[in-house]
Amino acid sequence: MKFSITITLKKDVLDPQGKVVQNTLQNLNFKNLKNIRQGKYFEIEVNNDDQKDVEKKIDEMCKKLLVNLIIEDYKINKIS
């Protein structure tokens, strides 16, 4: 089974990289840009058919290492 994890900065955490990307896109004439936030993306493949168990394990991976819960939020999605 394959899962994706998308990690984003919490809404009240300053994201200077996202701001710079936004400014640059505006300089490239992409108008009407409202807001850009930069994040991280992981794809994880697991040898296990028990979807509930895998989701639990991936959630644990997020909490233990992949995500800093003070500043980041995450979403887990099944890809295949």
Partner: protein
Amino acid sequence: MNSTVIVFPGSNCDRDIAVALEKMQFKNKMIWHKETKLPKSDLIVIPGGFSYGDYLRSGAIAGKSLIINEVIKVANQGCLVLGICNGFQILTETGLLKGVLLRNKNLKFINKDVNIKVIDNNNKFLKKYKNNQILKINIAHNEGNFFTNKDHLKELNEKKLIAFKYCDENGEINEDSNPNGSIDNIAGIFNSKKNILGMMPHPERMIDNLVSNTDGTNLFSSLLN
């Protein structure tokens, strides 16, 4: 005093801190991160550098290394722990210190001597400094922008857990004297028991007038008594 410096792949201030500790008469040992036992230590130092190339987040991988479990254990028993720069980032990733160090507000790696003010000297690390004393100490980091939640900030202020704040040469603490965007200009903090200090500036670089100044010396001599 026995000190131990933890060395990770990518640590690059480990030898500097060892020189500083030995100059101040600490009996120092260097310990590789794969070790599972710590020598008997009165002080553990987590040095600056770029452990694991700052992969994932600064300090995230080192914060889960084998030796860190031992550091957490002795820190909770009251052993003195000092985290400098990447060491501070690692301590926040382990949870021994609350808060987080974000990317510098200006997105630039900053390497310069800055002024910091001693906020509270009523602890083992800073007792040889005076309150409000201004020190000139080097900073060299990309992620030094300290951030934490309101409750922790309140706790830091009420329990006097702020060690240093960035200031200008006259001691003014304001946005102009804040190099990296840290909340309230915070440059270093203690845990609630004040046996753990995390700081972004590098006191080990300020122990000799030949290369810089000696503003960092008193941090080490405070610990000796």
